[in-house]
């Protein structure tokens, strides 16, 4: 953790802030390693730890710059999460606060963390995987990365007139989530679902809202 914080402290304050807010993109850009990104994702490296490392090297002004930028970063994250919560059901079903027990239950019964279930012709169906992000920040970053790198292309390649696109298995470059594979697609199956705690790919569904001319995040979740 100390080494990772020190590594970030060596960057310019504005770049440090960007890295802390976007560890996935920063890894893909080669600014930090996947290991450092993982430490940011799991909360071991924070603006405070970086500021502490920076304080000894560049003085109070540098540390203050990161702290100030951290406040801006938090406000940006809050704004993204508020928008995602309004767009669809990603946060309540795949957010960082979802427990492994809730995911296990969904993989076995089809009942989601928010109590929802998908019924078709009387059958409660179980999704191919029941997964969640390791943090809400990672969920927001994954959404941003897909919007920046995949969404426009998916829209361009979709059927004429399409109002919804699915982007499957986009690689994030670091571990972003965990979850269980289902045993069978309908409830009542026998045997424990398989747990994966190293999910680095993400599937997302975007739906076009013609009233505001904007593609909303219907859902986004980690996949194997």
């Amino acid at each position: 953790m100390l080494a990772a914080s020190a590594a970030l402290a060596g960057l310019a304050p504005t770049l440090t802030t960007w890295v802390l807010a976007n560890p996935v993109a920063a890894t893909n850009a080669g600014v930090i390693t996947a290991d450092v990104a993982a430490q940011i994702a799991n909360g071991a490296v924070t603006p405070v730890t970086v500021a502490e490392s920076m304080g000894g090297k560049v003085g109070a002004a540098g540390a203050k710059a990161v702290e100030t930028s951290a406040a801006t970063m938090t406000a940006g994250l809050d704004s993204s999460l508020a928008r995602i919560a309004q767009d669809g059901h990603a946060l309540e079903r795949h957010g960082g606060l979802i427990t492994n027990e809730q995911l296990f239950n969904r993989a076995l019964t089809g009942v989601g963390p928010d109590g929802s279930s998908v019924v078709r012709n009387g059958q409660i169906l179980i999704p191919s995987s029941a997964t969640a992000f390791n943090s809400n920040a990672l969920l927001a970053q994954a959404d941003e990365l897909i919007r920046q790198n995949y969404l426009d292309r998916a829209i361009a390649l979709s059927k004429p007139g399409a109002q919804s696109v699915v982007i499957e298995g986009a690689e994030m470059g670091i571990v972003v989530g965990r979850g269980f594979d289902r045993v069978l697609p309908v409830a009542g199956s026998v045997g424990p679902p398989q747990f994966n705690d190293g999910l680095s790919r993400v599937t997302a569904v975007y739906s076009y809202d013609a009233s505001v001319k904007y593609w909303r995040t219907t859902t986004i979740y980690p996949v194997k």
Binding site: R120, P127, S128, K159, G161, Q163, P185, T219
Partner: protein, 91 residues
């Protein structure tokens, strides 16, 4: 073939998009109203598919994780109810 049917199953009715049946129907209706291309192409494909003895709704629903029918008849009935009666007929 039947690309718009596949599109609708993959984007609205599959379990992996996580819409309830009511949500899926409601969102699809709204989107079809917003896109003449989407509604026209889907309607044409459904008319063809319902008359196509070689098209398996059971297999297609299975492929897209929509619904696991016990028979072709059950799957066909569900397709008519959800896609035609609840969507195409009322938009």
């Amino acid at each position: 073939m039947y690309e718009y049917i596949h599109h609708v199953l993959a984007n609205y009715l599959t379990i992996n998009v996580e819409y309830s049946e009511e949500e899926a129907i409601s969102v699809l209706r709204k989107d079809l109203k917003n896109s003449i291309t989407l509604s026209g192409e889907l309607k044409a494909e459904l008319e063809t598919a319902f008359a196509d003895k070689n098209f398996s709704w059971k297999d297609t629903f299975n492929e897209y994780d929509v619904f696991f029918a016990k028979s072709e008849e059950e799957a066909n009935t569900y397709a008519r109810k959800v896609l035609w009666d609840s969507v195409i007929r009322v938009i």
